[in-house]
């Protein structure tokens, strides 16, 4: 039964993603991005996607590839400053964009997975983000009602996983991945290492397998570094 989650190829993993699907995608910048699943979606050529992700990759890597292919119609993100194709498509009106404060985005995903339809936050009060949103005062402070944000598919990347879909992330490559995993109706997890069930310490699992529907191992991760900074010895 558990082995039913393990799929044989990335082509198979994304086979039922169709035009106009909503994809929730983990990663922060180029760190912890599901690069193999994104490449498979690019190859499949599905169009008019709604993509929810903190960033939109760079021009030639990560979600930037889907953007360059014209596959994304709508993007929900918090920060898109590193991508000139994004800026051009947004300015021309080709790409519909919803900018969401980063913490609100994370919580909207978590809420979707947790069965919470909305929550109140002080983030964005008095700004453009508040436009059209219900607000309410609690204990003398104003808060905005923000809605949960889920989607048909989530693409996530972890360090290690098992056939039950249990996931362990590494360092800051965790970021939005656990929340994307919670928010997707079908969550596709790619891992650097697929280990035997029982090998992961239950105390150390970050995403319990219940949030993961498909899992497969990727090989030859590029993991490009966006801004290399080093110090003198």
């Amino acid at each position: 039964m558990s082995a039913a989650k393990v799929v044989g190829s990335f082509v198979e993993a994304v086979a039922d993603i169709e035009d106009r699907a909503t994809l929730i995608v983990g990663g922060f910048g180029l760190c912890g991005v599901p690069e193999k699943a994104i490449a498979a979606v690019a190859q499949k050529g599905v169009r008019e996607l709604t993509v929810v992700s903190n960033n939109c990759g760079v021009d030639d890597f990560g979600l930037g590839v889907l953007l360059a292919n014209g596959q994304i119609a709508r993007m929900v993100a918090s920060y898109v400053g590193e991508n000139s194709i994004f800026e051009a498509q947004y300015m021309s009106g080709e790409l519909e964009v919803e900018l969401v404060p980063q913490g609100t985005l994370a919580e909207r995903l978590r809420a979707a997975g947790a069965g919470i339809p909305g929550f109140y936050t002080a983030t964005g009060v008095g700004t453009q983000v508040a436009e059209g949103k219900e607000s309410r005062e609690f204990d003398g402070r104003t808060y905005l009602l923000e809605r949960a944000l889920g989607g048909e598919f989530a693409l996530v990347k972890a360090w290690r996983g098992d056939a039950l879909g249990n996931l362990v992330y590494r360092d800051t490559a965790r970021n939005f991945n656990p929340l994307a995993a919670m928010a997707g109706a079908v969550t596709i997890a790619e891992v650097e290492e697929l280990v035997d069930v029982g090998e992961l310490d239950p105390n150390q699992i970050h995403t319990p397998g219940i949030f993961v529907q498909r899992i497969l191992v990727g090989s030859g991760y590029e993991k490009p570094i966006e801004r290399l900074r080093v110090r003198e010895a």
């Binding site: 404060p101 913490g103 985005l105 009060v125 008095g126 700004t127 900074r229 080093v230």
Partner: protein, 224 residues
């Protein structure tokens, strides 16, 4: 470094040197992207100061040695970093629970405009630039103390310290302190924007000339 930095010819170096005096032992601090990131070097010597990175790290360490860089370990500016002993990693929702929940003592952010009400604009120039707010709106709404550091005027010499912000806001009445190369201003919860320090070699007239906002004079600062 402190004194020399405060006298440096470069405005940004002077701003960073002054902002470094805001860092305290035993506190948790989030440094924004750009000029605020330069403050990390000043945090080294302060016992118990932990730097928070909103992408999921509490306890940012120095940049790695060449060859030790790890693509899985970056700061919110997407730069390769290290983690100090005692650091922790977490997901973005937990990271922003720290911010939104008031667990971060101090956030130091860059700015484009600050108004005399303590409003901040730092994420968008309509029609020209769209980068997104990232975590800035969450930080100004949730951190216990918000310090903005920026150059006092635009590159064209126009005002940044304004009566009202002209750019889309990041937060309304959120700034506690503004540090520029000319001066330091505070925004008390009840009361007006107040000039509390002049930078070395800067006189009040120069600040008044460069500032569109109306402000009061703090203790020890008198009008000409």
């Amino acid at each position: 470094m402190g004194d020399r930095g405060l006298q440096a010819p470069d405005a940004r170096t002077r701003i960073v040197a002054r902002a470094a005096l805001e860092l305290r032992e035993g506190t948790t601090v989030n440094l924004g992207i750009g000029m605020p990131t330069l403050l990390a070097a000043h945090a080294d010597g302060l016992p118990g100061l932990l730097l928070h990175s909103e992408n999921g790290l509490l306890g940012i360490g120095p940049y790695p040695l060449a060859g030790d860089e790890d693509p899985d370990l970056i700061n919110a500016g997407k730069e390769t970093v290290t983690a100090v002993a005692g650091a922790s990693f977490f997901d973005s929702a937990e990271s922003f629970a720290m911010i939104r929940g008031g667990h971060i003592d101090l956030a130091i952010l860059g700015g484009m405009e600050v108004s005399e009400q303590g409003d901040l604009a730092n994420w968008m120039v309509p029609g020209k630039m769209v980068k997104g707010m990232g975590g800035a709106m969450d930080l100004v709404a949730g951190a216990k103390r918000v310090v903005v550091i920026m150059e006092h005027r635009t590159r064209d010499g126009g005002p940044r310290v304004r009566r009202e912000c002209t750019l889309p806001l990041t937060g309304r009445r959120v700034v506690h302190r503004l540090i520029t190369e000319l001066a330091v201003f505070d925004f008390p919860p009840r009361g007006a924007m107040t000039l509390v320090e002049l930078a070395p070699g800067v006189d009040l007239e120069e600040v008044q000339h460069a500032t569109e906002a109306h402000f009061e004079l703090g203790a020890g600062l008198t009008g000409s």
